[in-house]
Subunit: 170 residues, 2 copies
DNA sequence: CCCAGATCGTCAGTATACTGTCAATCAACA
DNA sequence: TGTTGATTGACAGTATACTGACGATCTGGG
């Protein structure tokens, strides 16, 4: 039996590749999110940041970046934008001058309540083309894969570890 | 029976949401790709562009953006970088002064041949944590989902339509 | 107490990714 | 033929996303 010839160099091979499908699905997911939430002028990342700050009031930027799996360098500008919209407040930590603690403002908490239905519509729309059973299967496999691949991308801390010193876990 | 209370506003709900899993998996996929291919200084998008130009020599930028599902505005800078590395050539189209046709250079074709094994290692690594049967299931569902959601994001043309006037299809 | 190492937020630099706009050009119809 | 409408590539503006570096600060060992 002759050895298998090298894979042909063709764009069709790309279409079936995991990397291409993940990139394309991410594009589609963002597009659907923005469409459903366009009345709120919030990006998916800004939404995740608001939710995380709501769940962990007084969190600092580094821990926040771990909780939402978001690069620390970029997070600064995300927080700035949320601050400019008056959704988030930063207060210096009394016991550590390096740290700035994050809190939702009243507006931030309010917009979070209002946007939730739109976000849920968006999440549902992403999976809508699939049969219900297939949605469950896909989400189960994606959860597994993200979890097992967690250390493959440079998120400095696992969410649970990040929260150890926040009085919320451990 | 009382109606279901509203979903709690918690970061844990985000972790199970399709949008979060797709974003996170895309991060991981890029990270793995860059790690396996770091000797070549090519991004996933640059790689896809090279493959597509190789498959369709003389394609123009607008059609290329459809073929790799990549925004036309950003594609200009991607091509510039590929040109700067001497992997891609642009020639004005004789019959239409607006259009610039894209071709691989010798270097471009060479690096494509060399990088393929690294790309295949990367693609394999993305799915490695899953059992083989689950990998197939996941890729099947992702293909379906991307295909059925295709019109949800602003890619102007389906790949096949984009190629109609290229003498390669239809 | 002092200093080496770690951590925090920030910044510079690069590369996607999208919206919207523009001039140049082409195609097609009246 | 002349003009309207569409297309092409380019650009400006915004928002992720990552690497690497920096000063300010904290912490732990000696």
């Amino acid at each position: 039996m002759p050895s298998k010839p090298p894979a042909p160099i063709t764009i069709d091979a790309v279409y079936a590749a995991p990397g291409y499908l993940f990139r394309r699905m991410q594009q589609i997911a963002v597009s659907i999110f923005m469409e459903e939430c366009k009345a709120f002028d919030l990006t998916p990342v800004q939404y995740a940041a608001l939710i995380a700050i709501h769940t962990h009031p007084g969190i600092d930027a580094t821990r926040l970046s771990a909780v939402i799996a978001f690069d620390r360098s970029t997070l600064g500008s995300v927080i700035e934008r949320l601050q400019a919209k008056d959704y988030v407040e930063r207060k210096p930590a009394p016991e550590d001058k390096r740290i700035k603690l994050l809190y939702l403002t009243k507006s931030g908490a309010a917009i979070l309540r209002e946007i939730i239905p739109a976000v849920e519509r968006a999440q549902a729309r992403m999976l809508e083309p699939l049969k219900p059973a297939d949605r469950k299967t896909l989400m189960g496999l994606m959860s597994q894969l993200v979890d097992l691949n967690n250390e493959a991308s440079r998120v400095p801390l696992r969410a649970e570890d990040a929260l150890e010193h926040l009085g919320k876990a451990g």
